[in-house]
């Protein structure tokens, strides 16, 4: 028999501590939709996505109701569109509009995969797709784009880094009347995972099965309130144990939801992504977890160490709870989506440089950071290159999602609303790196790549 305290603990996690399944993401391969005629290709995509994901939202809602666990998002990720574009040619935005149409009709809030993988070089379709990203993101509101520009195995494609600096600015400029939202839907990756269920970086890798269900759990609020009960003199290793136990419970719930969804949709279960994904809701913040460990503010000395331990403990706790772990799996630190990070950015205890250090020990990268609109494309590329280098050398995923606030002054904020939250403009070191960025070429893969 279940014990009453356990039952009440679960209910408290859901009711008061914002425990939820952040997303059920259906990954769909579009390889068999490729056609030399772009219109036919789009039509095949439309049919396949509608056929496979037709019940995604209703099944998600059913599970939500029966198990009493909120499932915030139902989403879709698809094969990187650059691959299809390489076959079809034509205007890539047609693909974006097709994906948008699918998302609207299926009522999923984001569809990811307007992507290209160019870590080692450009193949047919890649350049055209990257060129079209700003336009595609300004003409759609549910399509997410990502570009993998580096990996430990291949090094960093600096030509792509240069392009992406420009594209991020363009994406922001084209959507400047709408809080520069375009740039919030574009992620630049190093070592991008192929089974990531979280947006904006989700795409369905070419090594994946035809269709899978991936689940992203969340629960910073639960971890925080577990730590809150710990006395102030409890050693760090015991805090790590508390985090592990909590992460285990959160992940078990994700595993249950994922396997249930996979059964009901008759689609194989892919992975659980063990991530602490914050939301702007107070109490659902990763920064507040770090502060609960004993920091006066996120960003003060000690932050990187706390984050490293948090990230590791989440994985250790989660990995035993799931049959298959993947995706990003770790703690996210998106500034605009995290009440504690927003607070720390406002009072300037959190800087981009500190965030960069933090990304060396957590699962993603410089995420949802609002920067001054006049920041040059070369500077953005420089920030991307630095972040990619951290990922490449440490054999981990890193990403950059910067939002240049076009037409806004320092001290102002961008308000995206919903899960994307709002963020103050953060100071960027404007020192010139344009000669380096204009060199282009490649940064060769590091010694770490020679493992064979």
């Amino acid at each position: 028999m279940l014990n009453a305290n356990e039952i009440l603990e679960t209910i408290k996690m859901i009711d008061e501590e914002n425990l939820d399944v952040r997303t059920i993401t259906m990954g769909i391969s579009l390889i068999d939709c490729a056609d030399s005629d772009i219109d036919r290709s789009c039509e095949k995509i439309y049919k396949k996505v509608k056929r496979l994901a037709g019940n995604l939202v209703s099944v998600g809602c059913d599970i939500e109701k029966e198990y009493g666990i909120p499932i915030i998002n139902k989403r879709i990720s698809v094969t990187p569109i650059a691959i299809l574009l390489g076959v079809s040619g034509g205007d890539p935005v047609k693909y974006a509009l097709t994906l948008q149409k699918c998302a609207e009709e299926l009522d999923v809030n984001f569809i990811g995969g307007y992507s290209a993988l160019v870590q080692k070089g450009f193949s047919a379709g890649d350049r055209e797709l990257i060129e079209s990203i700003p336009r595609a993101l300004s003409m759609t509101d549910r399509v997410c784009a990502s570009v993998n520009v580096g990996s430990t195995k291949a090094g960093i494609n600096m030509d792509a880094v240069k392009m992406l600096g420009e594209k991020i600015k363009e994406a922001a400029e084209l959507t400047k009347d709408n809080n520069c939202i375009g740039a919030a839907k574009l992620v630049v990756f190093c070592n991008a995972p192929e089974d990531n269920p979280f947006m904006a970086g989700a795409f369905h890798g070419v090594g994946e099965a035809d269709c899978v269900i991936n689940v992203g759990v969340s629960g910073p609020g639960v971890v925080r309130s577990a730590l809150k009960k710990a006395p102030k003199d409890l050693p760090m290793n015991e805090l790590a144990d508390i985090i592990k136990k909590t992460a285990f419970k959160i992940t078990r719930m994700g595993q249950l939801v994922g396997s249930e969804a996979s059964k009901r949709l008759n689609v194989p279960f892919g992975i659980v992504d063990l991530s602490l994904a914050p939301t702007p809701a107070v109490g659902d913040s990763v920064a507040y977890i770090l502060e609960e460990m004993g920091l006066s503010n996120c960003g003060v000395p000690g932050t990187t160490a706390c984050l490293a331990m948090l990230n590791d403990a989440v994985k250790k706790g989660g990995v035993m709870a799931s049959s298959s772990v993947g995706g990003l799996s770790g703690a996210f630190i998106p500034v605009s989506e995290d009440a504690g990070m927003i607070k720390a950015a406002r009072n300037q205890s959190l800087t981009i440089e500190k965030l960069e250090a933090m990304t060396a020990v957590c699962s993603v990268g410089l995420d949802m950071i609002v920067i001054p609109g006049e920041t040059s494309a070369a500077t953005i590329s420089g920030i991307i290159a630095d972040e990619m280098a951290i990922g490449m050398v440490n054999s981990k995923t890193t990403a950059v999602r910067l939002i240049p606030a076009i037409g806004k002054q320092s001290g102002e904020e961008l308000v995206f609303g919903g899960l994307l939250g709002s963020g103050p403009i953060m100071k960027v070191n404007e020192g010139d790196c344009s000669i380096m960025i204009n060199r282009g070429g490649k940064i060769p893969s590091p010694m770490q790549s020679l493992k064979n």
């Binding site: 028999m1 279940l2 014990n3 009453a4 356990e6 039952i7 009440l8 603990e9 679960t10 209910i11 009711d15 059913d62 109701k65 029966e66 198990y67 009493g68 666990i69 419970k249 078990r252 719930m253 595993q255 249950l256």
Partner: protein
Amino acid sequence: MKAVISVVGKDQVGILAKVSNECAKVNANILEVSQNIMQDMFVMIMMIEIENLSVDFKEFVDYMSNYGEKNQLKIHVMHEDIFNSMHKI
């Protein structure tokens, strides 16, 4: 298949009677009940069998949640698997 009904609220006369009456109406067999009063908060956990429910389980979940609100109680009806997966290895 089993589900857990949890009821939390200010203690008042007849909570157990009301909730069990609603269970009987939809043919949900009550397997176990445990209740406690802490200070003046009423906490009850009820395990029910939902195999032979006369209504759709999802409807019952919504109905009980609304019923709770009307009676100043917080009522959750959740499939037992969520608790099993979280608390048992």
